[in-house]
Structure formats: structure tokens, C-alpha cells
């Protein structure tokens, strides 16, 4: 048998068809593979079109950017009334905190950011001192600066606080107060002592079972009844107590998750080297457990930040509350004022919460060693 022709080298590979590569290939593979996906894509495009286009028109293209009062924002096809936000920006940030004293809030904000950022970045050294400052020294400094009344600082009543200041204060205090309480409750729930365990379980399940709004009602209406005659708490402080107790129950569950993730060998190792309960908790278990639950703590901080807006129902003006209150200002009464206000509040809340949720995901990846 003789073969007429044998190819000695393999043929050059043909380039893939133009419909399988490049932009068209990508479109075919990701958007239009099959009739069902094509319909989905078209529906998706339609949804994006009817939501994104009016939103952009309202927020940017049709929006009014400059003006002195409501006159600027009245018209047939007017979008967001941004001058309203510029005019009220001070209130949205500080509430009615007196103007000449606002540097105190600014100083607290600078200290807050300057101590929180290095604490959040894993590579920065002196974590221990940083944490001590952020969780123990900073609250005292912030209290002195914000409240005043001594050291030559003018007293500013909390009734004049408002806006983002209150939002941040409430959620920060909620987290800082709930951390130690949460640790104690989580340890209590895992304790072998029956009374302590029962107490912790009842406490945690009670606060987790009721809505925050009833807790706020309780702290604003019921708490004063339980105090002796003549003793009265500030309204903001009462809300803070309620929120701290409420969030400590959630924090306890987050920390319990971390405690459960520590292998039993660690507990036994602590006992083997002769450490007592508190010593082994302080030196071995809690440092590991708390590190594990950093994402969980950040997530509770996010939900607490969102929940702080509820204080407006008991008459404390947080960011959302103060924006809502300004809708009644006759100087700025236009049909788009409320939409603009909600948009602004939404943008601020969203940036804070989204930023923190990204951070929590980043920490989760960093702490998760299983994939490496």
C-alpha cells in the first residue's frame, strides 16, 4: 500500500470564528446564549433603563446645583435640589451644636479617624496601644470635648446635638459598650455554672427577641419610672443605655461564634500550663476568638449604624431625623426637597455601610487561612 500524500507538519490552527472571540464572542457567551438568556438580557436592560436613567436625570442632569432659596428649585422638570443640602449641610453634620463650638466636634472626628484607620489596617504596629486608646481613652476625651462644662469648655446640652454627629456617637457607644458586655455574656453562656448560664441565656434571648423600637420606647418612657425621684437621665443617654443593652446581646452571639471556633486543645493547653479560668481566657482564648470575629463585629457595627436611625422615632435628631425635620422649612419647601433629602441621607449611609462591608469582607479573606 502506498500513500499518495502524507502531511509532515501539523496544519496551522485556524483563528477562532469571529463570533466566538472579542466583544461579539463575549456578548454571545454571556448575554445571548439561548433564547431564555436573551429574554433575560432584554428584561435586564429594560430594568436598568427604567431605573438608572430617571435616577441619573434626577440626581445629576436635571438637578439644580446653585441657588439661595426655594425659588431656584421650582419648575416643571426640576431634579434634585442640591442647594437645599448645601444650605443645611452644617445642620446635617452637627445638628444645632453652637457654631463657635463646632471645632470641638471636628477635633473629635479627627481623633476618631486618626485612631480608627491605623487600627483597621492590619500592617500598622502598636495595635495594643492603639486599641487601648480607641476603646478606653478616646471615649473619655470625646466626652469631655463634646459635652464640655468644665476645663473652660462651654456646656453643650445633648438636645443640641444632631445629624451625623449623633448617628456616629450612638453607633460608636453602642459598639464600645457592647464589646465588654458581649464578652461577659458570651463567656457566661458557655459557662458550666448553672445560674450564670441561665442568666446569660435569658438576657441574650430577651434582647434578641424584641424589636429595637420597643427597646427605645422602654428606655424613653419606662426607664424614668425606675429611677428615684429627682434623678433624671438625659434623653440621649437613655437611648444609649437601651441601644448598648440591645447590641450587647447580638455582640454576645457573635463572640460566642468565635469562642466555639477555638479548638478544644487550646482550652486544655491553658489548663495544662496551670492557668486559671480568667488567665487562660485573657491570654489564650479571647485574643484568638476576638480576632476571628472581627468581620462579625464590623457587621454588627453596620447593622447598628443603620438601626441608629430609629432614634428619630423617640425624638432624637440623627442624620435622617434632622433631614426629615428640615423638610418643613418654608424657605425650602418644594416638591423635590424630600426626594433630595432622602437621596443625600441614602448616599451618606450607603457610603459608610458599603465601605465597612467591603472592609469586613477583606478581613474575612485575610483571616481565612483554609484556602492557602
Amino acid at each position: 500500500m502506498s500513500v499518495a500524500y502524507v502531511r509532515e507538519t501539523p496544519a496551522e490552527a485556524l483563528p477562532p470564528p469571529s463570533t466566538a472571540v472579542g466583544a461579539i464572542g463575549w456578548l454571545r457567551a454571556n448575554l445571548f446564549n439561548g433564547w431564555f438568556n436573551t429574554i433575560l438580557t432584554l428584561v435586564g436592560f429594560y430594568l436598568v433603563y427604567i431605573i438608572v436613567v430617571p435616577f441619573l436625570e434626577f440626581a445629576i442632569f436635571d438637578a439644580v446645583w446653585t441657588g439661595e432659596n426655594r425659588e431656584a428649585c421650582i419648575g416643571p422638570e426640576v431634579g434634585a435640589c442640591w442647594p437645599f443640602v448645601w444650605a443645611k449641610f452644617g445642620q446635617f453634620m452637627y445638628g444645632t451644636y453652637p457654631d463657635p463650638q463646632r471645632w470641638r466636634v471636628d477635633l473629635v472626628a479627627v481623633m476618631f479617624i486618626a485612631s480608627m484607620v491605623p487600627l483597621a489596617i492590619p500592617g500598622v504596629p502598636y495595635k495594643r496601644w492603639n486599641a487601648i486608646f480607641f476603646f478606653a481613652i478616646f471615649p473619655v476625651l470625646a466626652f469631655i470635648l463634646l459635652v464640655g462644662g468644665f476645663l473652660g469648655l462651654e456646656l453643650v446640652e445633648t438636645a443640641r446635638w444632631g445629624g451625623l454627629l449623633v448617628t456616629i456617637v450612638v453607633s460608636y457607644v453602642g459598639i464600645v459598650a457592647s464589646l465588654p458586655l458581649g464578652v461577659l455574656l458570651a463567656l457566661g453562656r458557655r459557662s458550666k455554672l448553672p445560674i450564670i448560664k441561665t442568666f446569660s441565656v435569658v438576657f441574650i434571648e430577651f434582647w434578641r427577641g424584641v424589636p429595637l423600637i420597643t427597646v427605645l420606647f422602654m428606655s424613653s418612657v419606662m426607664l424614668p419610672l425606675f429611677l428615684p425621684d429627682g434623678v433624671s437621665f438625659d434623653k440621649l443617654l437613655r437611648a444609649l443605655i437601651g441601644i448598648a443593652l440591645f447590641s450587647s446581646a447580638y455582640m454576645a452571639e457573635v463572640i460566642r461564634g468565635g469562642l466555639q471556633a477555638i479548638p478544644k486543645g487550646q482550652y486544655e493547653a491553658g489548663q495544662a500550663v496551670g492557668l486559671g479560668y480568667w488567665q487562660s481566657m485573657r491570654l489564650i482564648i479571647l485574643p484568638q476568638a476576638l480576632k476571628l470575629v472581627i468581620p462579625g463585629i464590623v457587621n454588627s457595627f453596620i447593622s447598628l449604624l443603620k438601626d441608629t436611625s430609629l432614634v428619630l422615632i423617640i425624638g432624637i435628631f440623627d442624620l435622617l431625623g434632622i433631614i426629615q425635620r428640615n423638610f418643613t422649612d418654608a424657605n425650602w419647601a418644594t416638591p423635590v426637597t424630600s426626594h433630595t433629602g432622602y437621596l443625600f441621607a441614602g448616599l451618606i449611609f450607603w457610603m459608610l455601610c458599603f465601605g465597612m462591608s467591603r472592609y469586613s469582607i477583606f478581613m474575612e479573606r485575610r483571616l481565612d487561612t483554609s484556602r492557602r
Binding site: F226, L312, S338, G346
Partner: protein, 398 residues
């Protein structure tokens, strides 16, 4: 022992000093806690009694029988200004349960759709679903509720210019109007047909799955059930000569009369709750489906399962095990979050009872106690059900 002897410690009993004895320490700690709680309760209670007396506020639960004297916009049971505070409580509770029940159903449907869409191979659909989740989840629910109520529902057109997407359905500033079915005489057969159809479907499902397990023969359960569910009631209607009529909402003067009406507050609350909760449910569904290892899908493919069957018989049953516990948590959250109704004036439990009734009677302790007790009961019942369900669904390992 030898070491201890050299140090001169007490070895006769072989025990540590009482100060370091964990047992004694435990007793001391617990006693301290009990004393602390008792003292706190005693101080609080004695202050409360004193304050209540000095402010002339009655105590006890007698106020529940007093006349309420205020109207409620949405009532599921007969209620008027002359009804009692107890009636107002029931109205509020039913309104809370109503919005929670409808919200749970809708949020589950929307959440599953979006959760599955996030995993879609369609790039656009996946991105749209991701954007939805990331935007909605990171905005406070209260902000969303206020937006839906004040910025959307309150700027709907007047009844004269209302939207009418389908015949008989109208959406305007006064709420959502729908045709209301009116059951005439003889419609009991229709109700009976629905019950019979449901019972028959359950029986057929059991029989079919037993037969398939025993013999491998399949039975078209889905089509049979659908036919039963729609066919039997329709048959009953035909036999009795259509006793069901629809009362259409009609525009009279400045408002609609007749038909069914959903209050604007209800519409806004439902929208806000469903959209917010669905974003969390979507994440739970996505995580649950991703938790089923890819090997399971491949194994089903190797056995020759079609894609739909793989989803239905292999992926979803395993994903449900991961999904259901956090899903129940979200249901509870939705129920608790419905208390935000107070901000937009929907008459739920908190708004009616812990709001109006508390202000009128001043009996803060009792009112808050009852309100919290209701939510606690709901959440404890749910977790009891959850534990039972988990036990049933838990992986049985051999």
C-alpha cells in the same frame, strides 16, 4: 505532693485553699450575680411604685377593659371608637401579623429570584442582582420606609388620575384598589372543592413517592396536582352556576368606593419590608446554593440527570439545609422590623398599643411589658419550630 510538702502547704486533704477552689469560686460568683439582680430589681420596683403613686398613674391590667376612644384606619376585626383598649391591642396585633405574613411570602419569592439571579451565567442579570443586593442592604430600613411612604406613595396621583395597570386595579394616593370577590349562596361547594383538591394532592404525592420508591415508576404528580387544584373548584363553580361575583372599585366623586382597598401606609410598609428583607434572603440563598459542592452537580450529570432535575433533586434539597435556619432568622427580623410602621403611621401593634394606648393611659410598664411579651412569644415559637424542623432536616449520617 512532694513539692507541696517542701513548700509547706496543706497536703492533708490534698485540696487547694478555698480561695482558689473553682467550686467555691463558682458558688460565690453566682451568689454575687443573684444578689446584684435582686437588689437591682428591688430598687427599680420600689422607685417605680413610688413614682407611679406620686404621678397618680393606675397600675395593673384593668385598663384593657376601658373604652379606647380613638379610631384605627385599618381593622381586621370589628372595631369602633367605643371599643376597649383590649380590642385595640388585638387590632394592632392582627395588623402586625397580616403585614408580616404577606411580607414573608413576597420577600421569599423575590429573595429566591434575586439570589438565583446572582448566580446566573447571564452577565447582566448577575450584575443587576448584585447591585440590588449591595444597594438595598446598605441603606437603613427606616430611610427606605420613609422614602416609599413620603416620596413615592404620597406623590401618587389623585383618584381621578390613578394608574390602572389592569382592569379593576387602581393605584393612587388613597391606596391600592382591587376587585373584591363576593360569595353568593352555594359557594360553599367552591370552598369544599378547594379543600378536597388540597387533600387529594397531598394523598397523591405520598402515594406517588411511595410507589416510585418501591417500583421506580414515576407518576406525573405536578400536572395532576395543577389539574386538581384548578379543575375541581372550577367544576364546582360551573355546577353551582357561578355564585361568585366581583365587586369592582368605582370612582365616585373624589374617591373610589367598593372593592378591596389596601391603605397607602400598608402598601408603603409592605414595599419597604419586602424589598429590604429580599436582599438578605437573596444572600442566604446564594450562599446556600454555593455551599453545595460542585461535585454533587457533576455526579448528577454523570448519572445522566438533566439540568432542571439536578437542581430539583440534588442541589436544592442540600442547599435548603443551609438556607432554612438563617431564612427563619430573616422572617423573624421582618416581623420585628414591621414595628417600624410607627414611623409612617400604619396601625401595627407598636404604633397602636405602645404608641396611642400608652400615651392615653400612661401605663408604660404594663403596655411595654405586653408589647415585648408578644414579640418574645413570636420569636420563641419560631425558634422552637426551627429546632424541630432542623432535627427533621439534619443530615442523617450512616
Amino acid at each position: 505532693m512532694a513539692v507541696q510538702n517542701e513548700l509547706g502547704t496543706d497536703t492533708s486533704s490534698g485540696r487547694v485553699s478555698p480561695f482558689y477552689d473553682p467550686r467555691i469560686r463558682g458558688i460565690v460568683f453566682q451568689a454575687a450575680l443573684v444578689i446584684f439582680v435582686v437588689v437591682l430589681v428591688y430598687i427599680g420596683a420600689s422607685n417605680a411604685i413610688e413614682n407611679l403613686q406620686s404621678q397618680n398613674i393606675a397600675s395593673g391590667f384593668g385598663f384593657l377593659g376601658n373604652t379606647a376612644g380613638f379610631a384605627i384606619s385599618q381593622t381586621l376585626i370589628p372595631y369602633s371608637v367605643t371599643s376597649t383598649y383590649g380590642d385595640a391591642f388585638v387590632v394592632g396585633l392582627l395588623n402586625t401579623l397580616l403585614v408580616a405574613a404577606i411580607g414573608i411570602v413576597l420577600a421569599t419569592i423575590l429573595g429566591f429570584i434575586i439570589g438565583i439571579a446572582r448566580l446566573s451565567s447571564n452577565w447582566l442579570v448577575a450584575k443587576v442582582a448584585t447591585a440590588y443586593v449591595e444597594i438595598v442592604r446598605n441603606l437603613p430600613l427606616l430611610l427606605q420606609l420613609l422614602f416609599w411612604y413620603f416620596a413615592v406613595v404620597k406623590s401618587l396621583p389623585s383618584p381621578r388620575e390613578s394608574y390602572g395597570p389592569l382592569a379593576g386595579i387602581y393605584l393612587n394616593i388613597r391606596g391600592l384598589f382591587m376587585p373584591k370577590p363576593v360569595f353568593g349562596p352555594g359557594s360553599w361547594l367552591f370552598d369544599a372543592a378547594i379543600v378536597v383538591a388540597i387533600v387529594a394532592i397531598v394523598v397523591i404525592w405520598r402515594w406517588a413517592s411511595q410507589r416510585q420508591a418501591a417500583t421506580g415508576q414515576q407518576f406525573p404528580t405536578l400536572w395532576t396536582s395543577l389539574a386538581l387544584f384548578f379543575g375541581l373548584p372550577l367544576f364546582a363553580l360551573v355546577v353551582t352556576g357561578f355564585p361568585v361575583t366581583f365587586e369592582m372599585p368605582e370612582l365616585k366623586g373624589f374617591n373610589f368606593t367598593g372593592g378591596m382597598r389596601m391603605e397607602p401606609e400598608f402598601v408603603a410598609l409592605l414595599l419597604g419590608l419586602v424589598i429590604y428583607t429580599a436582599s438578605f434572603i437573596a444572600e442566604i440563598v446564594r450562599a446556600g446554593i454555593q455551599a453545595v459542592s460542585h461535585g454533587q452537580t457533576e455526579a448528577a450529570g454523570a448519572l445522566g440527570f438533566r439540568r432542571g432535575l439536578t437542581l430539583r433533586l440534588v442541589v436544592i434539597p442540600q442547599a435548603m439545609r443551609v438556607i432554612i435556619p438563617p431564612l427563619t432568622n430573616q422572617y423573624l427580623n421582618l416581623t420585628k422590623n414591621s414595628s417600624l410602621a410607627v414611623a409612617i403611621g400604619y396601625p401595627d401593634l407598636v404604633s397602636v398599643f405602645a404608641g396611642t394606648v400608652l400615651n392615653q393611659t400612661g401605663q408604660a410598664v404594663e403596655v411595654i411589658f405586653i408589647t415585648m411579651l408578644v414579640y418574645l412569644t413570636i420569636s420563641l415559637l419560631t425558634s422552637a419550630f426551627m429546632n424541630w424542623f432542623n432535627l427533621r432536616m439534619a443530615l442523617v449520617e450512616r
